[in-house]
């Protein structure tokens, strides 16, 4: 059973879920009537993209991108049991040559740090946009007395909003 | 070897208490009883599991001098459990109090009347 999951569910499961989450976010963003619900949809939409980026950098049996604090001399971290299956298939890839003499840790055992850096920025940007949108939402409530999209549009159409 | 067994026991104990809390959450009729079950079960199970892992850290502890780092981890683990011990009841209390002021009606058995009011005045 775990073999079946291992071969064809696992490779793509993460990416399917990210598409599902993104579509939930996008749907809420457009279809929801309440402005706060729209913002929750927007945040879900953004976190889904972050899910996509982080699942790019995941490597089977790799540890967290923080080197052991007593210096990165070349030692094999104890690989978790269930990843030796992968080792055989991809054995053929030559050990990537290092530009200089110093042999850093083996890249295949450490998760890819670049998506993590990018996503730190994306999360922070998401929260800032959320903050600004909430502030605008409060101003809309102060002017129109409601946060429902249809009521706001009626008030605008009714023209009681001058200038 | 003995240390792993102790830690496993502690962790399993924690899990058992958590199971109690969850069933309480489902079965109990109204807000207060659920809160009671959740609050208690939660805190204790976290404590036990964290303790279990703290004990497990002692497994390859030889001497104080060269792997003091392990002690640091244990102290932090205990710190977390202390923090949970302190804050979880407070938040439970805060929620309980908010619920009470929002006049959430407790489930009263038929024939009994509710005299919660007289000894716990609302503000």
């Amino acid at each position: 059973m775990s073999e079946f999951i291992q071969t064809n569910v696992q490779p793509y499961f993460n990416f399917w879920i990210y598409v599902v989450l993104m579509m939930i976010g996008l749907w809420a963003l457009i279809a929801k009537n309440n402005l706060i619900k729209k913002l929750i949809g927007m945040s879900i939409f953004q976190t889904a993209i972050i899910l996509f980026y982080v699942s790019l950098g995941v490597k089977d049996g790799s540890t967290i991108p923080i080197l052991d604090h007593h210096g990165p001399e070349h030692h094999e971290t104890a690989d978790a049991g269930h990843d030796d299956v992968h080792e055989k298939e991809h054995g053929k890839k030559a050990e990537p040559h290092h530009a200089d003499d110093h042999v850093g840790p083996n890249p295949d055992t450490i998760a890819n740090p670049l998506p993590h850096v990018l996503m730190l920025t994306a999360i922070v940007v998401g929260v800032s946009t959320l903050g600004v949108a909430l502030a605008i939402g409060q101003m809309i409530f102060k002017e129109f007395g409601t946060l429902e999209e249809n009521e706001i549009l009626e008030q605008i159409k009714a023209g009681n909003v001058d200038d | 070897m003995i240390i792993t067994i102790i830690s496993m026991a502690l962790v399993v104990g924690g899990l058992v208490f958590f199971l109690g809390a969850s069933t309480g959450l489902i079965r109990f009729p109204d807000f207060y009883t659920r809160m009671h079950a959740a609050g208690k079960g939660d805190t204790l199970s976290s404590l036990l599991v964290l303790l279990g892992f703290a004990v497990y850290q002692l497994k390859d502890f030889q001497s104080f001098s060269e792997n003091w780092l392990v002690l640091l981890v244990i102290v932090k683990l205990l710190g977390i459990s202390a923090f949970i011990l302190l804050t979880s009841p407070t938040s439970t209390h805060a929620l309980m109090d908010a619920g009470w002021e929002d006049e959430v009606e407790p489930e009263i058995q038929k024939g009994r009347e509710n005299h919660l009011n007289d000894d716990y005045p609302k503000f």
Binding site: - | V11, F18, S22, L25, V49, I80, T90, E103
Partner: protein, 107 residues
């Protein structure tokens, strides 16, 4: 039967036992029930973080993170309690009319 496998099973057990909380979250007649389940899931995830740390055998990395995590969870439920405390009348889940927030601003 090394310890990692045991830790993974403990983690899975924890996750599965969160299911009733999720169920309460979905069904929860009043908002307060939902906040209770939020509280539970919050503390459990803190513990789960330590479990993940054990699985990765880098507990010292995950420990500070778990502490910060439980702080934020505490802050969340405190905010909810404070909100309910500040907007007084009306029963737990759906206040019939406008909550008068005592900062006097017409909502």
């Amino acid at each position: 039967m090394n310890f990692e496998f045991f830790a993974t099973c403990a983690g899975v057990a924890l996750l599965l036992m969160m299911l009733p909380a999720m169920w309460r979250l979905a069904v929860g007649p009043t908002a307060l029930d939902r906040i209770v389940s939020v509280n539970i899931i919050g503390t459990k995830t803190a513990v789960l973080l330590v479990v993940i740390g054990v699985i990765y055998q880098r507990v010292e990395m995950f420990v500070d993170f778990a502490l910060a995590y439980s702080l934020l969870n505490f802050m969340g439920s405190l905010a909810a309690a404070r909100y309910l405390h500040k907007t007084k009348p009306g029963h737990g889940n759906m206040p019939a009319e406008e909550p008068v927030n005592e900062s006097g601003l017409k909502p």
